[in-house]
């Protein structure tokens, strides 16, 4: 599932090479943490959060089968 999310996000942004994601397993919820180029964060969120919301809806539907909850978060890259 993570790989497909990466595939989709890569197609939405201007800097596809900077897209990465990792799965963080929680007790009930798995979080797919996406990192992108800071310029692209807005594109992944979308107007009024529509894009990220749609991604979460789809990912959740995919997880229903395994009786799990999965969500998608965008993580700001470290700025050191």
């Amino acid at each position: 599932m993570k790989d497909v999310v990466i595939e989709i996000v890569k197609r939405l942004v201007d800097n596809p090479d900077d897209v990465d994601a990792k799965e963080v397993e929680g007790e009930q919820t798995t979080i797919i943490e996406i990192t992108t180029n800071p310029e692209d964060i807005g594109k992944v969120i979308g107007k009024k959060g529509r894009t990220i919301k749609a991604l979460r809806t789809i990912v959740n539907a995919a997880a229903v089968k395994d009786d799990k909850r999965v969500t998608v978060e965008i993580v700001e890259p470290d700025r050191r």
Partner: protein, 215 residues
Amino acid sequence: MKFVYRGKNVRRAINKGLKKLGITESDAEIEIVQEKPLILFGLLGGGTKVKIKPKGGFFPASAQKDKSSGKVEEYTRMIVGMIDKKAKVRVEKIKGSRISVNIDSSSKEIIIGKRGSTLDAVEYIVNLLVKRDPSTRVDVSVDCGGYKKNMSGKIKNSVRQASARAKKEDKPVKLEPMDSHTRKMVHEQIKSIEGVESESVGRGSSRRVVIKRKA
């Protein structure tokens, strides 16, 4: 082949032309023919004229459609594949720049979601991907096992009943909350029913159509 388009300013003339031709700016050679202010809102001429020539010649709309259908199927399959890897995705209808795809799967209920919410999310993301891809210029409508088709039939029925009630009892009748496309469809339908009018009330996801008797 060259095409001339007129507009209020350069930007508008170019956008109008590109839209008509179904190409992007990077695929076009653009030449400004005339740049003047509009005379009396353009009624007496004036305005800006641009000449647009598609690079590498003009390829027929049908060729573009074939390419778009393939892409649309590919994107839809990729997204729905997360939910059901065995789901079958097929382009059902092409009408102008509107492509309808249908998904067939053993887990239809999950793909559709509560009140079609998952299906809407799939459709939204497919359209985003299609818009980002310069080789496709289409609007995609995604259905699953005829769910949307059935829903629009059911909605039309309930609109007819609600209109009859609004007229008979002379009081406003509220419909279920609907998304903007559906509301537009309902408003259109109500225009064709005599003696009633409609408006939308509420905000966000609870915005709904209210049918009233015409005063």
